[in-house]
């Protein structure tokens, strides 16, 4: 017992292992192989198996069956079979199941915590205090939504069978984020856990069995990327929800383009962690610990780019280096460990290679001093200084416990550096000045912003990215929409496939002319508040009533789109003006349009050949839409989510920025207005491609925009061959969201072309919409699609 005397002098912590006998027994009982969970049954047949390894010990934990197309198909069939009944259950019935799941997870909280730690390598402290409680919270929260769906989501129905693919960094939590909202809304699911971490999903399946969840509502198919690809490719899946790398997100986007599947993507990040000189520096240092040295840095929203104001940078780095010395790296099952093992040898290799590259490029690496265990995939917490935006480690998501640190001089520069990334998942802002902090929160392009905190997660708040961090939200009301489809949308019927009109730059051989009754007019593109001739120098004949040529329209090309997007990008001030101001401008558009009613109605008749009465009706709809969106401009506002005590979590509806809008051929005036107005009412700048056949209504409209104080660049109009222009728009990296109303082929093309920057798309998929019907062509759904939600967490207290 000499030991106590010695320890009194060294004050070592000693080992504090969490017992894992229960989990070992569970694994032993499943030594024959971990199977899929399909239609309520565990199916361990199948030749191909893979091992799941404890990354802290490199020991094999279990062998798991690899799912093939056959298992995916069986799972989809089971899910489809269960869907009819499950989706028709009263919300309360579904709530009871979700509540039971939440309860059962709590009853087995330590079992799950130990199992997750062993499978993933993350410290027991995190699984016990963060992962598993958040899992239970997610099911509770969504048990609540299930109870209320009928009244809170009137006019919406579940999407159907959802294919869900989740990553290895928060295995059970990501499962909860996927399954809880899907089930609450009435969907059934086929979920594929990551092949590195399949175990807690299996234990979850046993809970589904335990609570008597109807067979087929939740199906779990194990496997690697091939299984994921089979899920994406399956024809009877209605929606894909994916969390993982941007690289794989892009592959999925491309693979399911044109399939009609709904899609939500939660991808990578390189989130800024901004420390202003007036911040609580010690608090911010702990923030870094929670940002990048949490979960071995394997966190999509990790604050991995530290930006420090120059005057305090050295002091901050000193504090950070000092803090690093007390981080304990080691056995994840030890209760006194801060950093566990990286998930796999492959991941460790990737992190090491990137860090090596950073050093080779001249960045200075600061590494925590402690000795790493000999076995297992461990990496020391580290950060780089002497980093520039051009450094590889500054741009690439390392997905390990390694941050990069840079300095800035002014708040303006901080925002500029923060936004100098393809990603836009999260941001952490440290300042004691509320003006400064909220200003930075507004400027940063990220779906989640944490003021004086970091990595705060709650089911009551939305989570998801801007830019190449994906689209769609998880958590809160905004997340639930990903698992609904509006009844109106669902009821839309395929349009009669009209022949696609290809405009020609040269005059046709046979033409009839409507005749010149007034002075000849030249329609132009409208770019940056100026009328501009088409770059190519070609125009095409516009055919009106009875096929007669009623004028010419610019035959726009790639460069016209490029110029229009550039002009739109420059008009960023529009998103910053008050909503009231935008409303006033829109009302003024309405006022000026009404003054030219006769002219527009006549042009409508002349263009489309519709009767004067019909033209008048379409004009009226357009005018009312303008008033409607002027009215909504300052009313479609966000929410304050109830998350943690002494926090406000602001869910703000922000404009995308530059939107591409391709208007349909039908109802050329009402549809154009119905699409452009919600977009600009929310503060977006728009590059709009008008109906190809009837472009003159749109080009006539720019005079109205011009005279109604719509700032130059807010609305840009290009006419020409629709799908050619749409493709350039969909490919353009500056365009953040794209609406396409046209044929099935064009819709697929737009979805595929959107892969580059993973812009959010809304395509009509060749379905017809009655643009004169308010239910189909007007409303909050248009506003929701014209915005992205930014959740800003602001803790308070002095």
């Amino acid at each position: 017992m000499e030991q106590i005397r010695d320890i009194m002098r060294t004050m070592e912590y000693g080992p504090a292992p969490e017992a894992n006998e229960e989990v070992s027994a569970w694994l032993k009982a499943r030594a024959a192989g971990i199977g899929h969970f399909i239609g309520g049954k565990f199916i361990a047949s199948g030749k191909e198996r893979f091992a799941t390894v404890n990354p802290a010990t490199e020991a094999e934990l279990a062998r798991v069956v690899q799912g093939s197309e056959a298992e995916v198909d069986a799972a989809v069939k089971a899910a489809r079979g269960a869907f009819a009944k499950w989706s028709k259950l009263p919300g309360h019935e579904r709530a009871r199941y979700l509540y039971a799941i939440a309860r059962h997870i709590q009853k087995r909280e330590r079992f799950f915590a130990v199992l997750e730690s062993m499978d993933n390598g993350k410290p027991i402290r995190e699984t016990r205090d963060i992962d598993i409680p958040l899992v239970a919270r997610h099911f509770y929260h969504h048990a609540g939504w299930a109870e209320m769906v009928e009244s809170e989501f009137e006019g919406f129905s579940p999407v159907g069978v959802c294919g869900q693919i989740i990553p290895w960094n928060f295995p059970l939590l990501m499962l909860a984020w996927k399954i809880a909202p899907a089930l609450a809304a009435g969907n059934t699911v086929v979920l594929k856990p990551a092949e590195q971490t399949p175990l807690t999903a299996t234990a979850f399946a046993e809970i589904c069995e335990e609570v008597g969840l109807p067979a087929g509502v939740v199906n779990i198919v194990h496997g690697d990327g091939r299984t994921g690809a089979a899920i994406c490719a399956h024809e009877d899946i209605d929606k894909i929800a994916f969390t993982g790398s941007t690289e794989v997100g892009r592959i999925i986007r491309e693979a399911i383009a044109g399939s009609g599947k709904k899609l939500s993507l939660e991808l990578g990040g390189k989130s800024p962690f901004i420390v202003f000189e007036d911040a609580d520096l010690d608090g911010a240092v702990e923030g870094v610990v929670d940002a990048i040295w949490f979960n071995q840095g394997e966190v999509c929203c990790a604050g991995s780019r530290i930006l420090v104001q120059e005057g305090v940078a050295e002091r901050f780095y000193d504090k950070l280096r000092r803090r690093m010395e007390t981080l304990r790296v080691g056995n994840p099952l030890d209760k006194g460990i801060d950093v566990g093992a990286v998930v796999s040898a492959e991941q460790l290799q990737r992190v090491s290679a990137l860090v090596k590259q950073g050093e080779e490029e001249g960045c200075t690496l600061w590494r925590a001093p402690g000795v790493l265990p000999e076995r297992g995939y461990f990496f020391s917490p580290s950060f780089f200084t002497e980093v520039d935006p051009a450094s590889t480690v500054c741009g690439v998501e390392i997905f390990g416990p390694v941050a990069v640190a840079m300095t800035f001089r002014t708040p303006e520069e901080a925002a500029e550096l923060a936004n100098n990334t393809r990603y836009g998942l999260a941001a952490s802002i440290w300042s004691e000045n509320i003006n400064l902090a909220l200003d930075a929160a507004a400027k940063v392009k990220a779906g989640v912003v944490w003021v004086n905190c970091t990595n705060m997660l709650d089911a009551g708040s939305g989570f998801g990215g801007y830019r190449e961090s994906g689209f769609g939200r998880e958590g809160a009301r905004e997340g639930l929409y990903e698992y609904f489809v509006s009844d109106v949308e669902k009821a839309l019927k395929p349009a009669k496939e009209a022949e696609i009109f290809i405009p020609r730059g040269a005059p046709e051989e046979e033409r009839r002319f409507a005749g010149l009754s007034r002075i000849d007019r030249t329609a132009k593109n409208y770019v940056g508040g100026k009328q501009s001739r088409p770059d190519g120098g070609y125009s095409y004949d516009v055919l009106g009533k009875g096929g007669a040529v009623i004028g010419q329209a610019p035959l726009g090309n790639r460069k016209d789109i490029r110029n229009a997007v550039e002009a739109a990008a420059k008009a960023g001030g529009w998103g910053g003006v008050t909503a009231h101001n935008r409303a006033q401008v829109l009302y003024y558009v309405g006022e000026n349009l009404d003054a030219r009613r006769e002219e527009f109605e006549a042009l409508l008749s002349e263009s489309t050949g519709q009767s004067a009465k019909a033209a008048s009706a379409e004009f009226d709809v357009a005018l009312r839409r303008i008033f409607y969106y002027a009215a909504q401009a300052d009313k479609y506002d966000g929410a304050v989510h109830a998350t943690k005590s002494r926090h406000v979590t602001l869910a703000m509806n922000e404009p995308w920025g530059v939107m591409g809008i391709v208007a349909p051929e039908e109802a050329p005036f009402a549809a154009f207005v119905s699409l452009v107005l919600p977009a600009i009412a929310m503060g977006n700048r728009v590059v709009a491609v008008s109906s190809t056949r009837h472009p003159l209504l749109a080009t006539n409209l720019y005079q109205i925009f011009d005279t109604s104080d719509v700032p130059g660049g807010v609305v840009n109009i290009v006419t020409g061959e629709k799908d050619v222009l749409a493709k350039t728009l969909a490919e353009h990296d500056e365009v953040a969201a794209m609406w396409y109303f046209g044929g099935k082929k064009g819709s697929a093309m737009v979805e595929r072309a959107s892969c580059g920057n993973l812009k959010a798309t809304w395509v009509s998929d060749g379905r017809a919409r009655d643009w004169l019907d308010d239910r189909q062509a007007r409303g909050r759904e248009f506003l929701r699609r014209a915005t992205q939600v930014k959740n800003i967490w602001v803790p308070y207290g002095e």
């Binding site: 000499e2 010690d282 002091r315 308070y796």
Partner: protein, 337 residues
């Protein structure tokens, strides 16, 4: 804010031979507001750190026993009640000299060790009784002074009270500050007051009670800590034990960070004493974890760390007996303080 280019990091000194540190805090030649005026303390961030500090670390088995014995050696065993008497103080001192029964101490393998509390803490008029009772034990006598707990007696009387206690044999003086100086941000007044008290202490060590429950915000706690240290406090202490909220971890965190910053700026060493509201062995471990994590092992020893508590010792004894015997213990089995 003027700061040295490079900050020295205080090195841990694991050995602690004596309860009093040999080198005293010299303070600064004058009030140096730029060391604290711009420093921010964010409450939510401090609370999060405090909450996770203790969930990030765990000490079990022999380590836990060792840590608990270490905690005993850091306790300022305290009685500060109106009904204190010579007899009461004598009993307290007896417990301070022998906090663990011989059997228990032997069972822990510590029979060769001198295990005592860090000090005994009493009112000034009780000092002579304590000095007498502790004679030859090497245990310092600490006395509260300066109109404890409110500190609103006129300054000459407060200084006289310090001198009285020192003359009576007190080795340490736990002073209270004028809260008004903090609440009105009158830092020169606070600095001068503590400076004068430090002078009055002479050879006795000064422990400055900031009454953190009264001064309300963590910003104030940080600033008051800095001023007290600049004025030469050898220890800074959280509370009188008479406030609505006494020693809590976010406050402690703020104070030890101030000690760290002050050390980096001045090169001086200052000790820390949480006091009041701490009753359990678990509390003792939490505070030791805070000290080790934020300041290093040297700050887990009695020359730099004290726990102002009275009932905590009883719980620690029970936990230690459980460790030694494997049976859960009862309080009646341990000698009263």
């Amino acid at each position: 804010m003027v700061l040295p280019e490079k900050h020295t990091i205080i090195k841990a000194v694991p050995e602690a031979e004596s309860q009093l540190h040999e080198v005293r805090n010299r303070g600064t030649a004058a009030l140096t507001p730029e060391w604290f005026e711009d420093v921010a303390v964010n409450l939510s961030a401090a609370e999060r750190r405090a909450a996770t500090l203790v969930t990030r670390r765990s000490v079990k088995k022999a380590w836990q026993a060792a840590w608990l014995v270490r905690a005993i050696t850091c306790i300022d065993l305290t009685t500060l009640a109106g009904e204190d008497t010579a007899g009461r103080v004598r009993r307290l001192c007896a417990k301070a000299k022998k906090p663990l029964s011989s059997e228990l101490q032997a069972a822990l393998g510590l029979e060769e060790e001198r295990i005592t509390t860090g000090a005994v803490c009493v009112y000034p008029t009780m000092v002579p009784h304590a000095v007498k009772a502790l004679e030859g034990s090497g245990i310092p006598v600490a006395s509260v002074a300066t109109g404890f707990p409110a500190g609103l007696t006129p300054l000459p009387q407060r200084l006289a009270e310090i001198r009285y206690a020192v003359d009576a044999g007190a080795d340490e003086i736990d002073i209270v500050i004028t809260r008004e100086h903090v609440l009105t941000q009158n830092w020169p007044a606070l600095y001068d007051e503590v400076r004068a008290m430090r002078e009055a202490c002479g050879p006795a060590h000064l422990k400055a009670i900031l009454a953190t429950g009264d001064i309300a915000t963590l910003r104030n706690v940080y600033r008051a800590s800095m001023v007290a240290m600049q004025a030469g406090a050898d220890f800074i202490k959280t509370s009188t034990g008479k406030e609505a909220v006494n020693a809590v971890l976010p406050v402690g965190l703020t104070m030890v960070r101030a000690i760290r910053d002050y050390g980096a700026l001045s090169g001086e060493i200052v000790g820390f004493k949480p006091a009041g509201g701490m009753r359990t062995a678990k509390d003792a471990l939490s505070w030791l974890i805070l000290m080790k994590e934020e300041l290093g092992t040297a700050w887990t020893m009695p020359d730099r760390f004290r726990l102002g508590a009275s009932t905590m010792l009883g719980d620690i004894e029970r936990q230690l007996e459980h460790y030694a015997t494997g049976r859960y213990s009862a309080s009646y089995r341990h000698a009263l303080a």
